[in-house]
């Protein structure tokens, strides 16, 4: 319990804390990344392709990623690789393709490759949730765990 006579010294500190809290939080709620793993499983990820020319066929890319996701969850890694490679040939800035390749590498205990794939995905990722997920893979592969 702080003695009352010292309380007045705390007023400027309290005021400063309040002010810095206001300034740093003005209008910007820090968004916690959503666990994208569940979203990907249910195919409800918004496919964001800002730098891609919209009329050049993102539908094809989206379809390939849907197939890749489905293949991953039935552990059909051969087809995951196929769909990811197809996507990267057409749209190399598709972070999700690197994400699935990284996940396969994790499942195969090739943590070095998983880290590298995730790093590559991070060079092109746009979606903040995907970014967080790629960073999570980087972290867990550095620690050598799943």
């Amino acid at each position: 319990m702080v003695p009352v006579k010292y309380a007045r010294h705390l007023i400027p500190v309290a005021l400063f804390s309040l002010l810095s809290g206001c300034v740093s939080n003005t209008g910007r709620e820090e968004e916690k990344p959503v666990d994208i793993y569940d979203q990907l499983k249910n195919n409800n990820v918004q496919y964001v392709t800002e730098e891609q020319v919209p009329e050049s066929g993102p539908e094809y890319v989206r379809l390939n990623m849907v197939e890749a996701r489905a293949a991953y969850f039935r552990k059909d890694f051969v087809n995951v690789t196929k769909y990811c490679n197809r996507t990267l040939t057409v749209a190399p800035a598709t972070a999700e393709a690197y994400y699935w390749l990284a996940r396969i590498a994790v499942d195969q205990n090739d943590f070095q490759q998983a880290y590298t794939m995730a790093s590559k995905g991070l060079t092109v990722v746009k979606d903040p949730n995907m970014k967080a997920e790629l960073q999570r893979i980087q972290t867990m592969t550095q620690m050598g765990s799943r």
Binding site: S24, Q52, S56, L63, V78, A93, V125
Partner: protein, 753 residues
């Protein structure tokens, strides 16, 4: 007298008995020999190499003409109807009737696919099988890796051969096939009679079994003993195998025609070669033509002697009608049809340089024996659109130089390597201007000094060692003592430019600045950077390395520049994606593997500088050829006395390297910018993949600076330009023009980082 005849009779009987015993022993011996040969015999089936399959989808940038060209190259024909292996064009709709094809991941069944185009884009894809998202056009065959005997065949089963073809074969070559036991006495007597009447050999008596024995097991010499062996072995063969097996072996063994050095054996390949069709799809007259050729493959070669071949074909059809195997009307219709050969212009294209790369990659993983006997199916990464464009641009580029510079340009040759740097897939390899002919593969084997192509390695080492794009580099006169005397590097324009910002020294390819910087960093550091880029070659640890006195092939340069283009991630270039055996089982895959060799922020800075080469540097001549939004980057390379003209560059997902030079090392009348650069631009400007460059790395900021002094500036100030900096390396001093508001914004940003 009686005793004499008795004596003769006794001798004769003993001799006959002896001969019989010898014959029996010989028969047993040859039977054993035959069984051993039958068990050991394997057909030599070469490995087949395919290009990448064309995957089609709505929204794809691809013209109808490009698709048709690929279909023709894969042996598809333009014709009405729904026969597999054909296509039709109706306005902006292309309908393809795909043949079934076994890819590395399974069989794609026959189906009809309809593609709708609007300009240079596919707007809709419909498949008769429903899954339009998964449609791949059959890949074209780009070559075969042959045996020493140069035999080529496509194995087929007897049940795949149409009955009319079998009928024509029996009627023409061995009408008593089903009734004799290897040798046909009737055929012998008939042949004797006909040949005696004609006074020359016009009819043979060899059965199909005898022909098979001769081709399969014996040499082709003509002697009585060989003939005797042939007869004996034919009888023995018929004891061991049934008629169907003999027929099945025959249709795969028979020599049909010669294609240069290659001998085409079997109806399977002959059918593909002449008609672009599987043997099961042959019509009566097409089958009759194959049979017609057997009597004399050279004499009746339809490609060289079409009239002769047509006449002989019609004779076969008449024979079939006479023997009741064909109706009279049917025969008449068949005889009225032309030969119907495939237009071989599209199929004659050969890709020796690319095949060479495939062979070398295979040699690492397979013995020559496996390649010969297993009938491997090799699915390569060659992209026909890129390959054709690379060949065309190289040839046209060289032709233009020859017509502009006449004698000075005679003998110029070149090479092109195109890569999908995100995956490491080799899309195109051109080894020379005569790209269809095998010979010296300049893309792989022409190791030439790379000149200024080495400079990105110097600047990359600098950027990774604390330099920024605006660091002032001295381009003042420089000399140093070497064991050969004094070395005084010169700029191309023979001038010195004082202090210049780093990015500009690279964009303008100033030699002196590069040497000064390289010497400061250390040759070892530059050499190490080249190694990290993927150059696996012993490098001379001499100052001349800094001006590119190191010999590399275009392929090696492509590997290095792909690492830069791929945001600092190295992936080995590969020509093969999958290998399967003849039954479709996957034997080997070549998956994507990456190695991060440089940090993204350093590469981002280098990439910016290489973009400046095109924007304002030695590559600016082609700046306008690129559509808005595309940010090409690259480096020119010109060696001493202009003996080599290089350009290595990339866009968001493809890298291309072009080299021009003379095999005898004579000087060229062009530099990298005036020779290789236009060829490069022609190749890469056709890239239709979706753009998508790497993001600005998290710790890189775009800052306005003064382009001459490298000091802080602001938007709107004269000579201001936006340049990336890694955090903490931004300039702190400003030019006078930098506004107060800019300074305040910087201050605020620093507080809230």
């Amino acid at each position: 007298m009686a005793r004499f005849f008795s004596f003769l009779r006794s001798v004769f009987l003993r001799l006959a008995l002896l001969a019989l015993v010898v014959l029996v022993f010989a028969a047993f011996y040859m039977d054993a020999w035959l069984i051993e040969k039958l068990n050991a015999k394997q057909w030599t089936v070469p490995a087949t190499v395919y290009a990448r399959p064309l995957e089609v989808y709505a929204g794809q940038v691809l013209s109808q003409e490009a698709v048709v060209n690929e279909l023709k190259a894969a042996g598809y024909r333009s014709m009405m109807g729904r026969q597999a292996g054909t296509f039709t064009v109706a306005g902006n709709t292309l309908t393809v009737h795909l043949r079934p094809f076994r890819f590395w991941d399974g069989l794609q069944p026959a189906q009809s696919v309809s593609l709708t185009f609007a300009g240079d884009r596919i707007t809709a894809v419909r498949s008769s099988r429903g899954r339009a998202a998964d449609v791949r056009l059959e890949p074209m065959e780009i070559g075969r890796i042959h045996t020493e005997t140069q035999e080529d065949r496509l194995l087929v089963r007897l049940q795949d051969v149409p009955q009319h073809l079998v009928d024509a074969l029996i009627i023409t070559e061995d009408r008593y096939f089903y009734s004799h036991h290897g040798v046909s006495p009737r055929a012998i007597v008939r042949a004797l009679f006909v040949n005696t009447r004609e006074g020359k050999v016009v009819e043979g008596a060899s059965t199909l079994t005898q022909q098979l024995i001769k081709n399969f097991f014996l040499e082709s010499s003509r002697s009585y003993s060989r003939k005797l062996m042939e007869i004996l072995l034919a009888v023995l063969l018929e004891i061991h195998v049934d008629k169907k097996a003999i027929l099945g072996a025959y249709i795969n063994e028979v020599f049909v025609l010669q294609d240069g050095a290659k001998a085409i054996h079997g109806f399977g390949l002959a059918s593909q070669y002449l008609f672009g069709l599987p043997v099961s799809s042959l019509s009566v007259e097409q089958g009759a033509l194959l049979i017609a050729m057997l009597k004399g493959p050279s004499y009746y070669n339809p490609l060289r002697f079409p009239e002769r071949a047509l006449e002989r074909r019609n004779l076969v059809l008449k024979l079939m009608a006479r023997e009741g195997r064909l109706g009279a009307r049917e025969a008449e219709i068949a005889m009225s049809k032309p030969l119907g050969l495939l237009d071989r212009k599209e199929m004659l294209a050969s890709y020796p340089a690319y095949l060479d790369v495939v062979r070398r990659q295979l040699r690492r993983d397979y013995s020559d024996e496996s390649l010969r006997l297993d009938g491997l199916r090799i699915f390569s990464n060659m992209d026909p659109q890129w390959q054709w464009r690379s060949q065309r641009e190289l040839q046209q580029g060289i032709m233009q130089l020859e017509s502009r510079y006449a004698a000075k340009a005679s003998g110029i040759d070149g090479a092109v390597v195109a890569v999908d740097h995100a995956t490491g897939n080799l899309l195109a390899v051109v080894g020379g201007k005569a790209s269809r002919h095998s010979g010296f593969n300049r893309a792989l084997d022409a190791k030439r000094p790379i000149g200024s192509l080495v400079k990105p390695a110097i600047y990359l080492a600098a950027l990774g060692g604390g330099y920024t794009l605006s660091s002032q580099i001295s381009d003042a006169e420089f000399s140093m003592k070497t064991h050969n005397g004094t070395w005084r590097p010169q700029n191309f324009d023979r001038q010195y430019h004082g202090d210049v910002p780093l990015y500009l020294a690279l964009a303008k390819s100033y030699n002196v600045a590069a040497v000064r910087l390289g010497m400061t960093l250390g040759i070892g550091q530059v050499s190490k950077t080249l190694g990290r880029l993927g150059v696996e070659e012993a490098l001379p640890q001499l100052p001349s390395l800094l001006l590119g006195a190191v010999e590399l092939s275009p392929m090696q340069v492509a590997q290095a520049y792909s690492t830069i283009a791929n945001a600092g991630f190295y992936t080995p270039l590969k020509s093969i994606r999958e290998i399967t055996d003849g039954k479709g089982r996957v034997l080997k895959r070549y998956p994507l593997r990456l190695e991060q060799r440089f940090s993204p922020d350093v590469i981002y800075l280098l990439d910016f500088a290489l973009q400046q080469v095109i924007r304002e540097g030695t590559g600016s001549a082609v700046r306008e050829q690129f559509r808005p939004g595309v940010r090409p980057a690259g480096k020119t390379g010109t060696t001493n006395d202009q003996r080599d003209s290089w350009f290595a560059g990339y866009d968001a997902n493809k890298s291309v390297v072009v080299w021009l030079g003379q095999d005898d090392n004579r000087p060229l009348p062009v530099t990298g910018g005036s020779g290789a650069l236009p060829v490069w631009a022609g190749v890469i400007a056709g890239n239709t993949a979706i753009e998508g460059r790497a993001n600005v790395p998290d710790n890189v900021r775009m800052i306005w600076i003064d382009r001459h002094s490298g000091l802080l500036s602001a938007e709107g100030c004269p000579d201001a330009m936006l340049i990336p900096y890694t955090a903490g390396t931004e300039p702190t001093e400003s030019v006078a023009c930098a506004t107060t508001s800019h300074k305040v914004m910087n201050w605020f940003e620093k507080w809230f980082q």
